[in-house]
Amino acid sequence: MRVVIGEDDVLLREGIARLLTEAGFDVAAQAGDAEMFLRKALAHRPDVAVVDVQMPPDRSDDGLRAAVELRRVRPDTGVLVLSQYYEEHYAVDLIGDRAEGVGYLLKERVGDVDVFIDAVGRVAAGGSALDPEIVARMLGRREPQGPLTELTPREREVLAVMAEGMSNQGIANALFVTEAAVEKHIRSIFQKLGLSPTSTEHRRVLAVLTYLRGAAATTTSQPRE
């Protein structure tokens, strides 16, 4: 798996590169600003690009824009963006209407090496990866009386992990249950939420995200637990 890294923080960039190399990835190129990153990514055609949202020259969301551009030009390149903090519209802009090969992690997630490496791998393989914290935030905004409230706690857990982009196996591992139980939960979830079941992880992610976005986009938002 070939990776291109875009990160202006040199220490962090080096750290990511080392982690990935240790995990068996081939770090094809590194860049310190958005423009160079995009050039290198287009040139080296990696399987996945890991890029910081805030990069020079503007340090606002140059990296994000470069990522979006990259996805547009090379749809088959996975893009994993790292962000200092959670901003919902990063996820929205990035995912657009296609959650395939997209990931959004908080920067500190890099320290959770396993999670990080796993996410990079999923995105490279065309799946999705959403930072659990981000999912938690999105799930936190529930309707007062909606199907979400009808989920059992276990189902909510499953939903959360599923929204992160995990496969059924990944969900089973994360929650220490059997895969069959996961499948049962997922079916129940989709049914309660009124979503048509779909097996592909990224489509599931998209479905859930869309659902959650729809819930959030109605003019009422509810307290988090």
Binding site: D9, L12, Q54, S60, Q84, E108, G111, D112, V113, G140
Partner: protein, 633 residues
């Protein structure tokens, strides 16, 4: 006119008095003469009566003596004796009474002598003789003598009486004549007096009454407001003085009224200008209005306000009038040559030019060409600095009073105030905007610093600790525990720092605009909040202000309102962004320092906007801010 009214009156009165006196004198004389005539008539009567009485005495004497002579009876001597006794008195009386007329007196004396002679010389001896029985007493000769004497006496008496009667008639005639004359004199005197009085009255009327009536009429007209009325000065003496005084009064009232009118107009104009100044009407409108008022008040053909520039030129900033009714060319004029603006620039004091003939300079030439004859300028001094000048120009010959500069100065003072006010306001607004901009800039810097510095470092720390934890593997003991603890702290620090950065200036606001910022803000709350925010983007300062208003208002809702739900709305309507935050809580919020809304109010004001709070007790709260969207520069 010459002798004065008093003298004339005196003269006329004197003449009249004399005339009347004369008439009365004649009358009195006539009366007196009438009286004396009447008295004389009475006297004649008395004289006649006395004569008759004496005659009768004589007759009594004769009768008595005859009777005695005839009868010899003593009883006939009684009347004889009585008569004889009464004779002296009667004689004396007659003489006395007849003494008024000398001729009559003589006659009366004649009579009395004759009577006395008869009485003593004849009658007495006769009676004595008869008593003696003297036969001579009865002799025919004696009787004849007696008869003769009596006849003579009678004849005397007759003559006397007739004379007396003639006298009486003459006196009577005279008396009548006198009376007639008196009546005529009195009548004519009276007529003359009446005529004179009438003439005098007519004269007085003409000389005094009519002028006074005219004066009263004029006074009435003056009182009624017709101050232009005058009266002819034809009167004599004091009347003439009165007429003249009335005319002078009319003139001075008229002059006072005109002056007062002008003052009122001036005050009204000043008040109008002051109102414009107080209402902070925009500069060009104000200056044009001032030019208009001053020009109208002074009757100038054109008025202009010029601002002096640093490079020696002057810019016209307000004007009225000029050829064709349009303002003179707006724009800059280089100040050179002789003209009011240049003089005022040099001296800093009011100036006037009475004629531009032969005045040097292009401005003077232009003014001549436009037909300007004379002009006056008053300096406009703003905060002790010569800012500009107000110039009024006349195209016709006009004698300008000395107070013109002062009159203009009252207006230039107002203009200076307006300019100072506008400057102050502009400065204040700029200062506020600067304060807010600085605050925002500081925020941005802090956020950037946080992000670039502390946050990054913390992220590093978290990552490093995680890696360290991983490296420790499943080992137990103090080290893994310590690492875990450190990691926990670091993660919490990261979260807190993130929240802090977000609170200072959320990234969502900068990148996604107001709506994104509000949504993120709302997502962190434990309260259901309805969001209806336009997705339109605005200049960063405006978005920041709107965001902070929402943030502060929502903070208040969370802290104080005890609300069950809230709503945020932001809509763009005709160039104004209207931001509304409402909740259904307990209300009672006030726009003062206690709620932090005051700071929002200032922030809104710094952006030329307004903030209002409606928060009845128990009735929820609505915070509304209206922020004008600045035009793109």
């Amino acid at each position: 006119m010459g002798g004065g009214l008093t003298q004339r009156t005196l003269v006329a009165s004197t003449v009249l008095a004399l005339l009347v006196a004369a008439a009365f004198a004649v009358l009195l004389r006539a009366i007196a003469s009438e009286r004396s005539s009447a008295r004389l008539a009475t006297d004649s009567q008395e004289v006649l009566a006395a004569a008759t009485h004496l005659e009768r005495l004589v007759l009594d004497l004769e009768t008595g003596q005859r009777g005695f002579l005839i009868t010899g009876a003593p009883r006939f001597l009684e009347p004889w004796r009585e008569a004889r006794t009464a004779l002296p008195d009667a004689r004396r009386r007659l003489v006395r009474l007849a003494a008024k007329a000398p001729a009559q007196e003589r006659r009366a004396r004649d009579i009395t002598r004759a009577v006395d002679s008869y009485a003593r010389g004849y009658s007495a001896p006769l009676v004595a003789a008869a008593r003696r029985d003297d036969p001579s007493a009865r002799s025919p000769r004696v009787i004849e003598e007696g008869k003769r004497r009596v006849d003579a006496i009678r004849r005397l008496f007759d003559r006397f009486v007739e004379a007396e009667r003639r006298l009486f008639a003459a006196r009577d005639d005279r008396s009548e004549r006198d009376a007639r004359r008196a009546i005529i004199a009195a009548a004519s005197g009276l007529a003359g007096s009446i005529l004179l009085i009438a003439l005098f009255g007519a004269y007085l009327t003409r000389a005094i009454v009519l002028p006074i009536r005219r004066a009263a009429g004029m006074a009435g007209r003056l009182a009624g407001g017709d101050l232009a009325t005058r009266m002819p000065e034809t009167g004599v003496g004091e009347i003439g003085v009165l007429e003249h005084a009335f005319n002078t009064m009319g003139r001075s009232l008229e002059a006072s009224r005109d002056e007062l009118r002008f003052l009122l107009e001036e005050q009204a104009a000043l008040r109008r200008v002051a109102t414009l100044v107080a209402r902070a009407v925009p500069g060009s409108e104000l200056l044009d209005a001032v030019a208009s008022e001053v020009g109208g008040l002074l009757g100038a053909d054109s008025t202009a306000l010029l601002r002096y520039e640093a490079d020696g030129t002057a810019t016209a900033v307000g004007a009225r009038g000029g050829p064709g009714g349009e303002t003179t060319a707006n724009g800059r004029h280089t100040l050179e040559g002789t003209n009011v603006a240049s003089i005022v620039r040099r001296t800093g004091r009011p100036a006037r030019i009475d004629s531009y003939q032969g005045a040097p300079g292009s401005i003077a030439a232009e003014l001549r060409a436009r037909g300007v004859r004379c002009s006056v300028g008053a300096p406009i001094v703003v905060e002790d600095r010569l800012w500009g000048v107000m110039v009024a120009a006349w195209n016709h010959e006009e004698t300008l009073s000395a107070g013109t500069e002062e009159r203009m100065a009252q207006f230039t003072e107002l203009v200076a105030t307006a300019i100072a006010n506008a400057d102050s306001r502009a400065e204040l607004a700029a200062s506020r905007a600067r304060v807010v901009a600085t605050a925002d800039e500081t925020r941005r810097r802090i956020e950037r610093d946080l992000h670039d510095g502390a946050q990054q470092r913390l992220t590093h720390t978290v990552i490093t600790l995680k890696l360290a934890r991983r490296a420790l593997g499943d080992a137990d003991g103090q080290v893994p525990e310590l690492v875990d603890e450190a990691l926990e702290h670091a993660e919490r620090a990261t979260a807190e720092l993130r929240d802090l950065a977000h609170g200072i200036l959320p990234a969502a606001l900068s990148r996604g605009g107001l709506r994104a910022g509000v949504e993120t803000l709302v997502s962190r709350l434990r309260l259901p909040v309805a969001v209806d925010v336009t997705t339109e983007r605005f200049p960063p300062a405006l978005e920041a202000t709107a965001y902070f208003i929402v943030a502060e208002a929502l903070t208040n809702v969370v802290k104080h309102a005890r609300a069950r739900s809230a709503g945020v709305a932001a809509t763009l309507d005709r160039g104004v962004l209207r931001v509304e935050v409402r909740d259904d809580g307990v209300g009672g919020a006030r726009l003062d320092g206690s709620s932090g809304l005051l700071g929002l109010h200032d922030r809104a004001a710094a952006m030329d906007g307004e903030l209002s709070v409606e928060s009845p007790e128990g009735g929820g709260t609505v915070v509304v801010a209206t922020l004008p969207v600045p035009d793109a520069d």
